[in-house]
Symmetry: C2
Subunit: 458 residues, 2 copies
C-alpha cells in the first residue's frame, strides 16, 4: 500500500556509515559518565570555532532579537515566505562565495537559490537536471548520504568513477571514460558529473589537472557538472590550493561557451561556519532555467526567515567572518595534524590532506584479507571493541577494502587523544599477534610514502 | 539537457493564481504611495494577531536569545541536525494538535515528523504513499499549489472529486465513486483521498457526513486518507464544528482496523499562528513505516534548530497560545463578516463559511457567459481595472465558472474597506450596463439563499 521509496532500502541508510551512528547513540563516550563508551568519529561536524560565533552574538544581540537599527522586524520575518529568499542573505552569501574563492569569480545573487541545507540543494539539482533512469557519474569514494540525496526520490542512478589509492584517489581521464562506458553498458543516459571539492571523504582539494579532465570531459560529452563545495572554507594550506569549478572553467576561457550553462555549484554554511542546525544552503547556477525551476522547488525546502535574518547579519560583518575563517582553518589544521601524527605513531597512515573535517585513513595492513568482508570485521572490532565509530570505505563506495574516514572536529582535543590512545593499543594488540604479516606491509609503505601525509608537524 | 520537471509547466505555477501575484508585485497598493495600486487578496496570510506574538516576545526574550534558564544553548542548536527533530518542539506540537481538536484525540510525538512547512509535508506524504503514475483523489475546488506540491516532483496524478455549488461544494459518495471510476478509465491506480479540512478555498469545515463518506470509501477501497488540517485553529464558530479525520475515524470505532494505519494528517503553524516565514510544519501518521520513511526524507526539509527552539518556547506557554487562538478566531470572524457584509451590499454573495482566511465568492452573475473564458475576462478586469488580486475558481480547478477566492486577513481593515468600495463601484458599473440581465439573476439567488452566508452581522 506504500510507495517503493517508503518500503525499499534505496535510501541507503542501512550502510555501515549510518549503522555506526546508531551504535554510538546507544553507548556514547563521556569522559566522566561513560568513559568506556564509543567515541563518535563518524560525524563531519565542526565544533572548533563555535566560541567565536558565541562571542560575536554576545556583542550583536540584535541579530538574535530580530532587530534592525533597534527596531523589531519580527512581524516582517514571521510573514516572509517569498521563495526568492531574503535579499540581504543572498547578497551576503555571494560575497562569501567570492571571498572563499579569492575574489577570482564574480557572483550574482540572481543566480543563487536558497535551500534548507546542501542536502536539499543537491537533490533539487538532480531533479532539475535528470529524469528517472538517467545517470550522474560520481568519483569514488563519495559521501554515503549521496545515495539518499541524489538517487532516492529522484530515481536517478549513480555510476561510480572509480578512483584508486595508486594515485591518491585522483580522478583520471580514463576513469571518467570508463564510467561513461559503464553507464552506456547499463543503457543509462549520462547527464553529468557530480563531485565534492574539497572531497568528502578524502579531505583533499581537486588539482587543476583533475578539474581540467572533468571540464574537457563535460564539454565533449555535453553534460553537466555539479560541484558540491561545502568544505571550501575548510582548506587549510596556505596559500589555499582550492580551485572552484567556476574558476577552472573561466581559466580555460570556456565561460562564454554553452558549457558555462551546465556548471552548477552547491554550498552551505553547515561545515564552513559550523552551523548545520540552521539549515542554510544554496545552489549557484549559470543556467537561468535551472535557477527558475530550483527557485520553485525551493518551496519544499525554504530556510526559516528568522535564520535568514540571523545569518545575513553575521555574514555582513566581513571583518568577523574573515577572522572566523582564518582562525577556523588554523584550528582544523592543528586538529588534523594531531590525528595524523597520533595515528602515525600507531603505525596507521592517512592520505595527505589539506581540507575537510576528517582524514582518509589507510588500515589495509590491519585487514586479515584484502576483502570487504575483512573490512567489515575490522570495522565491527573498532566500533564495538575499541569503541570508535569510524566509517568504513565500503560505505563510501571505495573500490579498495581497508580505508576508513575518521572525523576530528566534532569533539574536544581530550576526546581525540582518547581515540588516538585506543587506536594505538588496538594496533599494537594486532601487531603482536601478527608480527610477520606486519613486516611485509611496512615494505609496501616505503614505495608509496609520497601519497601520504608524512609531515604531521608542519 | 535539463529534466522534464525543470522544462515543463507541470509545476502549475502558470495558473492565474500565481499570475495574479506577479501583477500585484508590479503595482502593489499603498494607501499613501500608490493608492491606485492592486490590493493583494490572493494571499492566505494571517496578520491579524501578530501583535500578540510581538508582546509575548517582548516579555520572553530568552526564546529569541536562545537561552534556557538564562544559559545560552546557541552551541547546541547550531550543531543540532538530528532529523528526528527537537523533542521539546515535537512534544509541544502534539499538545497543540490535541488542544485544537478539543483533546478528543491523543497524539504521540513518536508519530510526528517535522518538515519545513506543510508544502514539504504534503510532498513527502505523496512520496511515501504513491509511485509515479499512481493517483490521489482531491475534492474540487482545491488549493492551486497542490499541483506543484503533490504532482510535480513525485509524478503522481491528481484525479478531481468534482463538487458543485448545488450542495455548497460538499463531498458526496457519488462524487467519490465517479472520481474512482475516472481514475480507472485513465488506468491510474488510486492510492488515496487527499483533502483540506477546513477547506482551502471554501473556508468551510467538513461535516460529519462528508467525513463518513470518505472514511467508508477509503475503508472499502483500501486506500489512504491524507487530511491537510493547516487551518484547523482558524475555525471561528462556537462551539467549533471542526472534526479532524482522526476523531471521525475513532468515532466509527475504526481506529483498531487497518484503516487507522492509512490515516495521515498534515499540519503547520503558518496559518493558525501566522508564521509562514518560520517554516514549521509536520506530518502525523499512524503508520510506522511512513513515519520512518518520512523522517529520513525530512533530511531535505529540516526546520532550522533556531526556529525549533523559538516555537517550542512559544507553544510551551499554554496560557498564551490559548489566548492567542481565541483572540485570533475572534478577529478572523470579524474580518470575514466585514467582507461578507460589504460584498453583500455590492450584490455579491459568499459561500457560508466558518474557517480560513478567505471567502469563496460567487460572481457568476457578473460573467457575460457561463464559461471559463468569461471568468478569465472578469478576473482580468478585476485585477487590472478594479485593482484587486483575487483568485479565479479555475485556478482552484473549480468545475463551475464564476467563483473566486478572496483573502481578508493579510491586510489592514482600511485596505479591506478600500477593496470593498472598489468592488461596489465595479458591480454597479456592470449592473447599470446590464440591468435586464441582472434582474434575471436576482431570481436565481432567492432559491439558493440557504447555501450562502446571509447573516453577516452575527
Amino acid at each position: 500500500m506504500l510507495s517503493r521509496k517508503a518500503t525499499s532500502d534505496s535510501h541507503g541508510q542501512d550502510s555501515f556509515y549510518f549503522l555506526g551512528w546508531e551504535a554510538y547513540v546507544k553507548n556514547p563516550y563521556d569522559r566522566l559518565k561513560n568513559p568506556a563508551g564509543i567515541v563518535q568519529m563518524g560525524l563531519a561536524e565542526n565544533q572548533l570555532s563555535v566560541h567565536l560565533l558565541e562571542s560575536w552574538l554576545a556583542k550583536n544581540s540584535d541579530a538574535l532579537m530580530l532587530k534592525t537599527n533597534g527596531e523589531s522586524v519580527f512581524r516582517e520575518l514571521a510573514l516572509f515566505q517569498d521563495y526568492h529568499g531574503f535579499p540581504p542573505l543572498k547578497n551576503e552569501l555571494v560575497k562569501l562565495l567570492a571571498r572563499i574563492r579569492g575574489n577570482k569569480v564574480k557572483f550574482d545573487p540572481n543566480k543563487l537559490v536558497l535551500t534548507a541545507g546542501a542536502t536539499a540543494a543537491n537533490e533539487t539539482m538532480i531533479f532539475c537536471l535528470a529524469d528517472p533512469g538517467e545517470a550522474f557519474l560520481l568519483p569514488t569514494p563519495y559521501y554515503p548520504g549521496f545515495d539518499r540525496d541524489l538517487k532516492w526520490r529522484t530515481e536517478v542512478e549513480i555510476v561510480p568513477i572509480t578512483c584508486s589509492s595508486s594515485n591518491g584517489f585522483r580522478i583520471t581521464m580514463s576513469a571518467l571514460e570508463e564510467a561513461y562506458r559503464q553507464a552506456q553498458r547499463l543503457q543509462l543516459k549520462v547527464k553529468g558529473v557530480f563531485m565534492t571539492n574539497p572531497s568528502n571523504p578524502l579531505g583533499t582539494t581537486m588539482t587543476r589537472e583533475e578539474l581540467n579532465y572533468i571540464i574537457t570531459f563535460a564539454a565533449e560529452k555535453r553534460i553537466h557538472i555539479i560541484s558540491d563545495e561545502i568544505y571550501s572554507a575548510t582548506v587549510f594550506d596556505s596559500p589555499s590550493s582550492f580551485i572552484s569549478i567556476l574558476e577552472a572553467v573561466m581559466d580555460r576561457n570556456l565561460d562564454k561557451t554553452d558549457l558555462w550553462n551546465r556548471i552548477h555549484v552547491v554550498y552551505s554554511i553547515s561545515k564552513d561556519l559550523g552551523m548545520p542546525g540552521f539549515r542554510v544552503g544554496c545552489i549557484y547556477s549559470n543556467n537561468q532555467t535551472v535557477v527558475s525551476a530550483a527557485t520553485k522547488m525551493s518551496s519544499f525546502e525554504l530556510v526559516s526567515s528568522q535564520t535568514q535574518f540571523l545569518i545575513s547579519k553575521i555574514l555582513s560583518d566581513m571583518k568577523f567572518t574573515r577572522k572566523y575563517m582564518k582562525e577556523n582553518q588554523k584550528r582544523i589544521k592543528k586538529r588534523k595534524e594531531m590525528l595524523v601524527s597520533g595515528l602515525k605513531l600507531a603505525g596507521v597512515r592517512c592520505l595527505k590532506s589539506n581540507a575537510g573535517l576528517f582524514c582518509w585513513v589507510d588500515m589495509r595492513h590491519l585487514l586479515v584479507s584484502n576483502t570487504f568482508e575483512a573490512e567489515k570485521n575490522l570495522w565491527e572490532k573498532i566500533i564495538f571493541e575499541v569503541g570508535l565509530n569510524i566509517s568504513p570505505g565500503s560505505s563510501f563506495h571505495c573500490s579498495e577494502p581497508g580505508w576508513f574516514r575518521i572525523c576530528f572536529a566534532n569533539m574536544t582535543e581530550e576526546t581525540l587523544q582518547v581515540a588516538i590512545r585506543r587506536t594505538k593499543v588496538f594496533v599494537q594488540s594486532i601487531s603482536s599477534n601478527s608480527q610477520q604479516r606486519r613486516s611485509s606491509i611496512i615494505g609496501r609503505w616505503v614505495s608509496k610514502l609520497s601519497a601520504y601525509d608524512h609531515e604531521p608537524h608542519r
